[in-house]
C-alpha cells in the first residue's frame, strides 16, 4: 500500500463545492478521503500543506508534443514532464504529428509513450480527416477504441462545411467533441499578426478578427444542425465571445477555450518584430483581451488551454514573416492565470480551478477534475502568493519559445501528484 496524507491545506474542489482547510488522503493511486483531522495509515507520507492550496490536478485540452516526427522540439516524455511542472496531471495532445495521428496505431503509440513517461496523463486527439487534408474522414471509432478522447484537424481549419457537418454528426456516435481551429483561410492568407494599427505600422500582413469569427459562426450553426458537440479552440476576439454567448443562451452544445497568452497579451507585443509574439490566432487588441477575461469569468469560455507549441530556437530566430507560430505554455499557464485573473480580483480561486480542471474534464469527458473519494489521485498543490520570474532556460520542455521570459508572476506550482505518485516538487 502507498499512502500520502496532504495535511491542513486549503482544499479547493469545485466539483464538490469545497473550499476550506482540510486533509486529503490518497491511497494506492485513488482519493481515499477528504476531511478534517484525518489520521494517517501506517507508512503514509505526511506532507504539511499549511498555507498552500490543494486542488484537483490541472487539465489542458490543447497541447502539441511533436512526437512522432519532431522529437528535437518535444517528445511525449518531455512534454509530460513540462506538464506536471506546470501543475497539469492530464493533457490532450493534438494530432499534427508526423505522420499525423489519424489512425488507431498512431493513437496507441502516444498512449504507450505516455505510459512509459509516467508523468502527466496524455490523451491523444485524433485527426478529423486523413492526414489533416480535409477530404476523407478518419476512423473515429477505431481511434476512440485506442484511447482518443476527441477529434480535431488542429491548425488546419476544416474548410469544407460539409466535412465539418459530417464530422459533427459522426462524432455523436462516440460521444466525443469535434475541436476546431476557427480560421477562414482566404481571409487569413499570408497573415502573420492581428490586422490593426500595429500591423499597419510594422508593415506586416494582418489577419482580421473576422477570419476567426466567420468560422465560429459557421461551427455554431452546424452544431445546431447536427446536435454534435463542437469545441472552439483558442478563442481570441470579442466577436467570437459574443457569438458563443448567444449560442450558449440557445442551449447549443458549444464549448470554447482561451489561452493564457490571449488573456495576458495584446498585439502591441509584436512591436520590434518579436517572433515569440507570433501565434495563430494572433494576439489581438486590448478590448479583445478584456472580452476573453470576462468570458472566462462568466463561463462563456469554458476552459483555459495552453496551445503549448514547441519550436526550435533557430526557427524563431528569423524574419517575422518566416518564423513559425506558437509558444510553449505548460509551465507558465497557472502563474499567468493567477497573476492576471485571480490576483486582479476577476476570478476567485475556485472559479480558476473550474476553468483549468473541472470543466476541462467534463467537456472532453476524461477522468480527473475532482477530489471525490474513489477518483484518481491527480492533485496539484499551489502556493498562490509565491512570486517567481519565468526563466525559459529552466523549462522542462525541449523548447524555449516563450514571450514570458523575465516576466514576474505571482502564484506557483509546489507539487504535482499523478495516480498517487509525487511526480513534481518545486
Amino acid at each position: 500500500m502507498s499512502a500520502i496524507l496532504l495535511k491542513g491545506g486549503r482544499v479547493v474542489d469545485p466539483s464538490q463545492q469545497h473550499d476550506g482547510v482540510a486533509d486529503l488522503l490518497l491511497i494506492d493511486g485513488k482519493v481515499e478521503k477528504l476531511g478534517r483531522n484525518l489520521g494517517a495509515p501506517d507508512g503514509a507520507e505526511i506532507v504539511d500543506m499549511s498555507g498552500k492550496v490543494v486542488a484537483p490536478g490541472l487539465i489542458d485540452l490543447h497541447v502539441h508534443f511533436r512526437e512522432p516526427g519532431q522529437e528535437d522540439l518535444e517528445t511525449v516524455a518531455t512534454g509530460a514532464m513540462a506538464a506536471v511542472a506546470g501543475g497539469f496531471t492530464s493533457v490532450c495532445a493534438m494530432p499534427n504529428t508526423d505522420p499525423v495521428t489519424d489512425n488507431q496505431a498512431a493513437v496507441g503509440f502516444i498512449v504507450r509513450q505516455a505510459q512509459r513517461a509516467a508523468r502527466a496523463k496524455v490523451y491523444p486527439i485524433g485527426a478529423i480527416t486523413l492526414g489533416q487534408r480535409g477530404d476523407k474522414l478518419a476512423e473515429f471509432g477505431e481511434m476512440v477504441g485506442a484511447g482518443a478522447v476527441a477529434v480535431s484537424d488542429d491548425g488546419k481549419p476544416v474548410v469544407s462545411s460539409h466535412m465539418m457537418r459530417t464530422a459533427l454528426e459522426y462524432a455523436r456516435t462516440f460521444g466525443i467533441p469535434v475541436a476546431d481551429h476557427c480560421e477562414e483561410p482566404t481571409l487569413s492568407a499570408g497573415g502573420v499578426m492581428h490586422e490593426g494599427i500595429i500591423s499597419t505600422r510594422l508593415g506586416l500582413k494582418g489577419i482580421p478578427a473576422a477570419a476567426e469569427e466567420i468560422m465560429v459562426a459557421r461551427d455554431i450553426i452546424l452544431a445546431e444542425l447536427t446536435g454534435g458537440q463542437v469545441h472552439l479552440c483558442h478563442m481570441s476576439t470579442r466577436g467570437s465571445v459574443e457569438l458563443i454567448r448567444r449560442a450558449k443562451e440557445k442551449g447549443l452544445k458549444v464549448t470554447a477555450e482561451a489561452t493564457p497568452h490571449h488573456f495576458s497579451l495584446t498585439h502591441e507585443r509584436c512591436e520590434g518584430y518579436d517572433t515569440n509574439a507570433k501565434m495563430n490566432p494572433p494576439l489581438r487588441e486590448a478590448a479583445d483581451r478584456e472580452a476573453i477575461r470576462q468570458a472566462l469569468k462568466d463561463g462563456t469560455i469554458d476552459v483555459i488551454s495552453t496551445d503549448h507549441a514547441p519550436h526550435h530556437y533557430d526557427a524563431k530566430e528569423r524574419e517575422f514573416d518566416d518564423a513559425p507560430n506558437g509558444i510553449i505554455g505548460l509551465e507558465t499557464s497557472l502563474g499567468l492565470a493567477l497573476t492576471e485573473l485571480v490576483h486582479t480580483g476577476l476570478l476567485t480561486l475556485p472559479e480558476l480551478i473550474t476553468r483549468m480542471s473541472t470543466e476541462a474534464a467534463r467537456i472532453f469527458n476524461i477522468p480527473g477534475g475532482t477530489l471525490r473519494a474513489g477518483s484518481a489521485a491527480d492533485v496539484v498543490v499551489i502556493d498562490p502568493d509565491r512570486t517567481w520570474v519565468v526563466d525559459p532556460a529552466k523549462s522542462f520542455s525541449k523548447s524555449r519559445n516563450t514571450p514570458f521570459g523575465g516576466t514576474k508572476l505571482k502564484g506557483r506550482v509546489e507539487m504535482t501528484i499523478v495516480r498517487g505518485t509525487i511526480v513534481y516538487k518545486a
Partner: protein, 336 residues
C-alpha cells in the same frame, strides 16, 4: 543533457568594442518612425553640402576612406542599389554588392548567418534590401556593423522618405505646413510609411488617396487623412507623391484592371488642370506610365521625379557619413 543554445536573451553584440563612437543617429537607420525631428533635420542639412560633391569634376571626398560597406540586396533593385553605391564610392568607401541569387542565400543560408559571415570579414556597414518587414531591424540587433535599411517588406524605406523630404524642401523652402498627398497602393508601400513618418514629424499635413482595397487598416492613427478620390486630393494638396502600382496587385484581385485604375485613380493632365494651383509631382519609381501617372504629368514642368533621384545620392551620403560617426557640423552650408 547537452547545453542548450541560449535563446534571444543572449545579445549577439556583447563583444562590441566599448570605445565605439556613438553616432548622432545611433547605430542603425531602420526607419523614420524611430528618428526625432531634430535627427531628420540633421540628415537633410547634412545632405546639402553633399549635393555639391556630385556636381564636381572629381566626385569624391575622403570621408569614408578605409570603410567597408556591403550592399546586401535580397530583392531586385536598380535605382536604390546604384544610388547607394554611388553615395558610398563618392565618400571613398570600399563596397561589395551581394545579391540573393547566386549567393549562399539561394542555398538556404539564413539571413543572420549570411550577415555574420560577412561581418567575420570585418566590414563596417551593411545596406540591406529585403522582402520581409522587420528584416533590417532583425539584422541590426544581431551584428555590430551599422545597418541601413534600403527597404524592408512593407515596413519602411527611410532613405526614400528622406530624399522625398529633401526634394520638397528644395522646392518649397520648408516642410512645415505643406500639404502632401500620397497616392496609390499605400497598403503594400514602404515608401508611403517612411513619407508619413518623416513628413508628419516635420510638421507637414499628409493625406493618403487610393482604392479602399489598398489602404492599410487604421492608417489614420498615423496622423494622416484619407481622401478617397484623386480629384479631391488634387484640390487639397501642394504636392503629390504618386506610388508605383505593382502589376501583381491586379492579378491578386485588389483592383479589377489597370485600365480602370488609370481611369479612376490615375494622375492625369486633365485632373491636374482643375487644381487651384500648380502641384509638385513626385514618384519614387519605377513608373508605370499610363497607369498611376500619365506621361505628360511625369515629364511636365512641375515634375521633380529626376531631382528626387539626384537628391537620393546626397541623402544617402549624409546617412552613411552620419552613421559612420561623422559630425553634422560639416553641414554648415545646409542650414535652413
Amino acid at each position: 543533457m547537452a547545453p542548450r543554445p541560449r535563446t534571444v536573451d543572449q545579445p549577439a553584440m556583447e563583444d562590441r568594442p566599448s570605445g565605439k563612437v556613438v553616432a548622432p543617429l545611433g547605430k542603425d537607420l531602420v526607419g523614420l518612425e524611430y528618428l526625432s525631428p531634430d535627427q531628420l533635420r540633421m540628415i537633410l542639412d547634412t545632405a546639402e553640402p553633399f549635393k555639391e560633391v556630385s556636381e564636381r569634376q572629381i566626385k569624391k571626398v575622403p570621408a569614408l576612406r578605409g570603410k567597408t560597406i556591403v550592399n546586401l540586396f535580397f530583392e531586385a533593385s536598380t535605382r536604390t542599389r546604384i544610388s547607394f553605391e554611388f553615395a558610398e564610392k563618392r565618400l571613398s568607401a570600399d563596397t561589395v554588392n551581394v545579391a540573393s541569387s547566386g549567393s549562399s542565400v539561394s542555398k538556404g543560408e539564413t539571413l543572420v548567418d549570411t550577415a555574420r559571415n560577412l561581418e567575420a570579414m570585418r566590414i563596417d556597414m551593411v545596406v540591406i534590401r529585403h522582402g520581409s518587414s522587420g528584416s533590417a531591424k532583425f539584422l541590426g540587433d544581431r551584428i555590430r556593423s551599422n545597418v541601413i535599411n534600403a527597404g524592408d517588406g512593407k515596413h519602411e524605406h527611410p532613405t526614400q522618405g528622406l530624399l522625398d523630404m529633401l526634394t520638397l524642401r528644395d522646392k518649397f523652402g520648408r516642410i512645415k505646413g505643406l500639404k502632401v498627398a500620397i497616392c496609390g497602393d499605400v497598403l503594400h508601400s514602404r515608401v508611403a510609411r517612411s513619407n508619413i513618418w518623416g513628413l508628419t514629424k516635420l510638421g507637414a499635413e499628409v493625406a493618403v488617396c487610393g482604392p479602399a482595397t489598398l489602404m492599410p487598416r487604421d492608417i489614420e492613427s498615423l496622423g494622416v487623412t484619407i481622401i478617397p478620390r484623386i480629384e479631391d486630393a488634387i484640390q487639397w494638396a501642394d504636392a503629390l507623391n504618386i506610388l508605383r502600382l505593382q502589376l501583381e496587385r491586379m492579378t491578386s484581385g485588389f483592383i479589377p484592371s489597370l485600365r480602370e485604375y488609370n481611369r479612376v485613380f490615375g494622375v492625369t493632365r486633365d485632373r491636374l488642370d482643375k487644381a487651384p494651383k500648380d502641384l509638385v509631382i513626385m514618384h519614387p519609381g519605377p513608373m508605370n506610365r499610363g497607369v498611376e501617372i500619365d506621361s505628360d504629368v511625369a515629364d511636365g514642368e512641375h515634375s521633380v521625379i529626376l531631382p528626387q533621384v539626384t537628391n537620393g545620392v546626397a541623402v544617402r551620403m549624409a546617412v552613411l557619413y552620419l552613421l559612420a560617426g561623422g559630425s553634422p557640423d560639416w553641414a554648415e552650408g545646409g542650414e535652413r
